[in-house]
Structures are given as structure tokens and as C-alpha cells.
């Protein structure tokens, strides 16, 4: 445990949507090179909290975040921080696959292009190939990189979105229910991929499926009504929950 480094540290985080207090006093340490799952019933605030980690909530005018969230000990809500730079470090994959209506190549190359990560076309080609390989999509699309990304199947689209997210070499990858729109086979592929991504990134995944959380994560956080009820080793949460609410949820009594 103690040899693992803390990547993101949240300290007394509160989120308000106007008058609505959506997240209450959340403290959590997210470790590097680990898959952390956020579970909980709908509306418990897990996605809201996830979106705080790369400041995607900034785009919602009524949303207000209090408390302190640090990435490598730097406060990401510090006024000096440009959320654009933050999001290059903290990538995100969304619930519904959302490739750009461009070619597969351009989808993956977009991030490196806008951040100026590559100096030449050859270098960019390399980044695209590497990212698509990491997303376990290369073999399926290598012959049609100029085909539109929107023409792929749902599971391929989601892996394309993962490739797009890893192309900017982020340090943390946030995934908001990445498999909820996918069939079981595509889900299995993405889950396998998440396990591989762990070697390079810190992955935070929000999921409705407890089996998925149990399968892919090492740490699990259970949210309920805006509170972080319990956070610990995944095996411990699922076999020996300390809080009665966690137990009720994982045994299917609340949800």
C-alpha cells in the first residue's frame, strides 16, 4: 500500500448545483497506476465527482465546487490553473461513444495536434498507431484510418474514444460509465483494455455494474446521496463492507 503514490487527493470536496448540495464532504485519495471504481445508485453524485477531477463541471454555469482537489499536490482549482492544460493531463471517456464526425485518424490525432505534441507527420502517425494499439483497436482499423470514426460499431467507437483520450499521454484517465451503451462482448473488450491501461495511467471509472467494478478495479468507492460512504480495497468492499449502507447496496437492497 505505502509504496503506491497518491495521484489525486480530494479534501472536503463540496459540489453545489445552484441550491442543491450534490456532493458532501468527500475525501478520497486516488492512487497512481490503479483502477479506482466509483459505484452507487443513480443520482448519488459519482459522475458529478468524476467530472470535478478534470473540471468538466466548469461548463455548467450553476455548478460550484468547494474544498481542495490536488493532482500531484497541485490544487487543480487554483486560479492559475488553466482547465485546458489540466484536461490534457486528465483525459476523459464518456458514457456514450462520442467520436468526432471525422476520420479515425483525425479523431486520434486531434488531441496531439491541438496540444502540439508532435513535430512531424511521421511522429503523429506513430502516436496515432500507438494510441490505437493501446486501445486494442489497431488491428481492426489499420487498413481504413481515413474512414469516418462514426462508421464503426459501438464498441469500436468507444475504444476509438479511449484511443483519442490516451493520445495526449494523460496521467489520469476518467471513464464515466464507459460500457453502459455497449453489448457484453464489447464490454469485455473494454474491461480487458482498462486492465492494460493500468500499467501506464491511473484510471477512475464510474460504473453501475457492481460485477464490473469487482472485475476491473483495485479500489472501490461507494457513494450514496452525495456522501462517500466507504472507500477501500475492492475485495474488501465486496466481501466485507464496513458500512451497512454499502452492504445493502451490493446485496441489492438499495439502489
Amino acid at each position: 500500500m505505502d509504496i503506491e503514490t497518491v495521484k489525486i487527493k480530494a479534501d472536503k470536496v463540496q459540489v453545489f448545483y445552484g441550491e442543491n448540495h450534490a456532493i458532501k464532504d468527500v475525501d478520497v485519495n486516488i492512487l497512481d497506476k490503479t483502477v479506482t471504481a466509483f459505484i452507487g445508485p443513480s443520482g448519488c453524485g459519482k459522475s458529478t465527482f468524476l467530472r470535478c477531477l478534470n473540471r468538466m463541471n466548469d461548463t455548467i454555469p450553476s455548478c460550484r465546487v468547494e474544498g481542495r482537489i490536488t493532482l500531484d499536490d497541485e490544487d487543480i482549482y487554483d486560479p492559475r490553473v488553466d482547465p485546458v492544460q489540466l484536461r490534457a493531463k486528465v483525459g476523459m471517456v464518456f458514457q456514450k461513444p462520442n467520436p468526432f464526425p471525422k476520420s479515425i485518424y483525425d479523431n486520434v490525432a486531434y488531441g496531439p495536434r491541438i496540444h502540439g505534441l508532435t513535430r512531424s507527420k511521421a511522429e503523429l502517425d506513430e502516436v496515432v498507431e500507438k494510441s490505437l494499439r493501446r486501445a486494442a483497436l489497431w488491428n481492426e482499423v489499420k487498413d481504413r484510418l481515413q474512414a469516418p470514426g462514426t462508421g464503426l460499431s459501438g464498441g469500436q467507437q468507444q475504444r476509438l474514444c479511449i484511443a483519442r483520450a490516451v493520445a495526449t499521454e494523460p496521467e489520469v484517465l476518467l471513464m464515466d460509465e464507459p460500457c453502459s451503451a455497449l453489448d457484453p462482448i464489447a464490454t469485455a473488450q473494454v474491461e480487458e483494455l482498462i486492465d492494460e491501461l493500468r500499467t501506464n495511467f491511473s484510471v477512475v471509472i464510474v460504473t453501475h455494474s457492481m460485477q464490473q467494478a469487482a472485475r476491473v478495479s483495485q479500489k472501490t468507492a461507494f457513494f450514496h446521496l452525495g456522501n462517500l460512504v466507504e472507500y477501500g480495497e475492492t475485495t474488501q468492499i465486496f466481501t466485507n463492507p464496513r458500512d451497512p449502507r454499502t452492504e445493502s447496496y451490493i446485496t441489492g437492497r438499495i439502489g
Binding site: M56, T59, N98, P99, G111, I114, T168
Partner: protein, 434 residues
């Protein structure tokens, strides 16, 4: 078993089916009615306007006598331009007289000096312009195609009859008989009239010479101003309001006002334009620049509203995707949102332009209704506009202007159809699925 067969319709279902049947019948008859109205409109306009594209001409040789046209013999343009249309008129009258005599056509009761009355008063000016443009013609004998007078032209278009000619001081039945003989000899012909699209407007007594040239140029210049100003301003305003502006009381107020401005009667923009652009800014009257500015003001809200709708219709997931990989707000808008909204924006833009093209009322107030004979050299010279030309011609007394006005409507409709076709083409071209 509930006891009731599915095959027996109960009263409620039958009543519902009848209601649906009635509603379908209403809808269908509404469509039929609308189509009939459209067909009627097209038939009446095409029927009344098509003759404007054909004109009666008299073709005969004219000897351009150097003694009359270039007394000094120097060929000096300044000296040549001193010769008035009266001289040319006499030349043409003599030439026509000679032609009728040479062909041995029986003139009947028409006296020799009345021959020229069968020609448009415009023909002497046409010949003079030809000679001034090319002074080497002087001394030669050229084949001159002169416009027939409006009454002769009207005779072949069914407007003038022998009975009406007997009561008309501008034309006599004998002249019509002579015209028929000239037609048999091939001197008088009815042919396509390119002048309708290229010539300037003509005075009240010369409907045969009136053309849309200046109106087309003026409308084109105004549309250029509207396009150049309203596209960037409209799109920038929409993008700012939709993507960047905070949502508060002020932006709500602006939004309501834009919606209201789109509903303001266009003549109000004319008064505004008169006050600001002409009285305050001192821009010239009747100029395409002022017309374009007024139409821009009028078009802006009508472009902003569909543009905002197009931006709103871009799925938020695309914005999330771009922001998620670290694109800035501006990059998100320019790389992803705008291209996806492009078909909608272009359609709104072209429909706004088409409305501006057909707008008359504001242009009346800024002097576009003036009679203009010289082609505008730029945005600051007086010009006419297509819809105003239609309005103008419908107010004139000579019946020859009825077909002119309808013909101008056909030209206007052709431009509108063309613009809509471009809108459809662009929409297809830029449409992308996501």
C-alpha cells in the same frame, strides 16, 4: 374471454377513426388549396410576364452620313457627342422611309413622316450610343435593329387592337396594317429581347425600351453588402450568445429583443436607415451601399435565430468530447461545433438573403425608387433594385408596363429559386452524420 370480439368495432373506436379521417381530409384539402394557389400564381405571372422577354424589332439598313454626324470630319469624340438624338432620329426616319420605298411596300394612309412613329423613341438614342462607342461606323451603311414602338409591339402581343388603335393618338389602324405588311416582308420581326435583362429603365412613354439591367446590378451589389456584413456579424453574434455569453438577465433581454427585431416591419428599418445612414452619416441616397446596410440590419436577426438553432442542435457530446481531450472553448467551437452547424447556418443565411432580395419597403424610403439611367460604377452610385423596379412599373400608366412588371417578377423568382437551390446544394454538401 372478455366477451367482446375484436372484429366488432365499439362506438368509441369508430368515433376516433372518424375524427382521424376528418383530420386527414382537412389536411389534404389544405395542401390541395395551397398547391392550386401556387399554380394559379405561377400561371398568371408566367402568362403576363413571358411576353416581356420577346420584343418586336424593325431591321433595316441605315447610312450613317458623315456630313450630318461628323461635320468637322475630325472624328473627335467631344465633337461627335454634340450631335443630338434628334439628328439620329431624322437619319433613322429617312432610312426607314427609303427601305419601305425600296421594297415597294404599300403604305396606305400612313404618311411618310409617320413611318418613324412606328419605332420606339429610344431607337435614336440606341443608334447614337452605338456610333459614339465605335466612331469608325460613320460613313458606313449598317443594318440597324430598331425597337418597334410600344403600341406596335402591343399589337403583336394582343394588347392593341384595330378598335383600340382607332381611339389612340399614339397609333393608327393604318400603321398596324403597314406593320403587318412589314412583317410579311421580314422587316418587322418578333425575337428574344436580351435588352430586358441588360437595358436600364426607360421613361413612362417607352415601355418597349425598359429593362432590368440597373435593377439587377443594384440588387446584386446590395446582396454583396448584405452577405459580407451579415454573415460574419450574424455568426459571431450567434456563437457568442450560444457558446460564450453568461446566461443572465442581460442575455435574456438581448435574446427577447433579437426575436422581436425579426418581427419588426421592414419599413421601420427603412426609416432607421434614412435617419442614420443618410441624414446622420451622410451617405448618398439611392446607393446600393445604403440599401445593403439597411437590408443587413433587417436580415441580421433573421440570420441569428436560425444560426443559434443550428448551434443548439449540435449534440453536447461533441462539445464534451472536444473539451475532454483538452481543446479550448474556441477550438471546440471552431473545430467541431461550427462545422457541424454549417448546413443549418448556410440555409438560414441564404433564406435571409432571399428575403432581403425581395424586400421593397425599406428601399423606397432611402431613395432606391429613383429613376436611374446610368449603370452604377460602384456601391456609392445611384442604382435601382429588382423588387422596387416591379413596384415602380406597376405604378406607370402605359399598359406596356404590365408585362414588364410581371417579367421582372419572373426574373426575381428565378433568382430566388436559384438561391434556394444553392441552399439545398450546400446543405447536402456539408451535412454530416454523427
Amino acid at each position: 374471454m372478455s366477451g367482446k370480439s375484436l372484429f366488432a368495432k365499439d362506438a368509441r373506436t369508430a368515433a376516433r377513426n372518424r375524427a382521424e379521417g376528418r383530420f386527414r381530409a382537412y389536411g389534404f384539402s389544405a395542401i390541395v388549396l395551397a398547391l392550386l394557389a401556387l399554380v394559379w400564381l405561377l400561371i398568371s405571372i408566367l402568362g403576363a410576364g413571358a411576353p416581356a422577354f420577346r420584343q418586336t424589332f424593325l431591321t433595316f439598313p441605315v447610312t450613317l452620313d458623315a456630313k450630318l454626324l461628323d461635320k468637322s470630319g475630325s472624328g473627335d469624340p467631344a465633337a461627335l457627342s454634340k450631335v443630338t438624338t434628334t439628328t439620329y432620329g431624322k437619319l433613322i426616319a429617312k432610312a426607314l422611309e427609303a427601305e419601305i420605298a425600296a421594297r415597294g411596300i404599300e403604305a396606305g394612309e400612313v404618311k411618310a413622316k409617320e413611318f418613324a412613329k412606328m419605332l420606339s423613341e429610344e431607337s435614336s438614342a440606341t443608334l447614337r450610343t452605338m456610333v459614339l462607342a465605335d466612331p469608325t461606323l460613320i460613313g458606313q451603311t449598317i443594318t440597324f435593329r430598331a425597337l418597334a414602338s410600344g403600341r406596335i409591339d402591343g399589337y403583336y402581343k394582343g394588347r392593341v387592337t384595330m378598335e383600340s388603335a382607332a381611339l389612340d393618338k399614339n397609333v393608327s389602324p393604318a400603321q398596324l396594317v403597314l406593320a403587318d405588311r412589314l412583317k410579311d416582308e421580314g422587316v418587322l420581326t418578333i425575337a428574344f429581347n436580351p435588352g430586358f435583362l441588360t437595358m436600364p429603365d426607360a421613361s413612362d412613354k417607352r415601355p418597349e425600351a425598359a429593362g432590368l439591367g440597373i435593377a439587377i446590378v443594384g440588387s446584386f451589389l446590395m446582396m454583396a453588402v448584405v452577405l459580407v456584413l451579415s454573415l460574419p456579424i450574424g455568426v459571431a453574434a450567434s456563437v457568442y450568445l450560444e457558446e460564450f455569453a453568461p446566461k443572465n438577465r442581460w442575455t435574456d433581454l438581448i435574446e427577447v429583443n433579437i426575436a422581436n427585431l425579426a418581427a419588426v416591419p421592414s419599413i421601420v428599418y427603412g426609416i432607421l436607415g434614412l435617419a442614420i445612414f443618410i441624414n446622420f452619416a451622410g451617405l448618398p441616397q439611392s446607393a446600393p451601399i445604403v440599401g445593403g446596410l439597411v437590408l443587413t440590419l433587417m436580415t441580421l436577426p433573421r440570420i441569428i435565430i436560425p444560426t443559434r438553432a443550428a448551434l443548439k442542435a449540435v449534440p453536447p457530446s461533441i462539445r464534451d468530447a472536444a473539451l475532454g481531450v483538452g481543446a479550448s472553448k474556441l477550438q471546440t467551437v471552431f473545430h467541431h461545433v461550427l462545422p457541424l452547424a454549417m448546413p443549418g447556418i448556410l440555409t438560414g443565411m441564404i433564406i435571409g438573403l432571399a428575403q432581403a432580395l425581395g424586400e421593397t419597403a425599406p428601399l423606397l424610403l432611402i431613395g432606391m425608387v429613383a429613376f436611374v439611367r446610368d449603370f452604377p460604377g460602384g456601391f456609392f452610385d445611384p442604382a435601382a433594385a429588382l423588387p422596387v423596379q416591379v413596384y415602380n412599373w406597376t405604378t406607370r400608366g402605359d399598359p406596356g408596363f404590365v408585362e414588364r412588371a410581371s417579367g421582372a417578377i419572373i426574373v426575381l423568382l428565378a433568382f430566388l429559386i436559384l438561391m434556394n437551390a444553392v441552399a439545398i446544394y450546400l446543405r447536402r454538401k456539408f451535412e454530416r452524420r454523427w
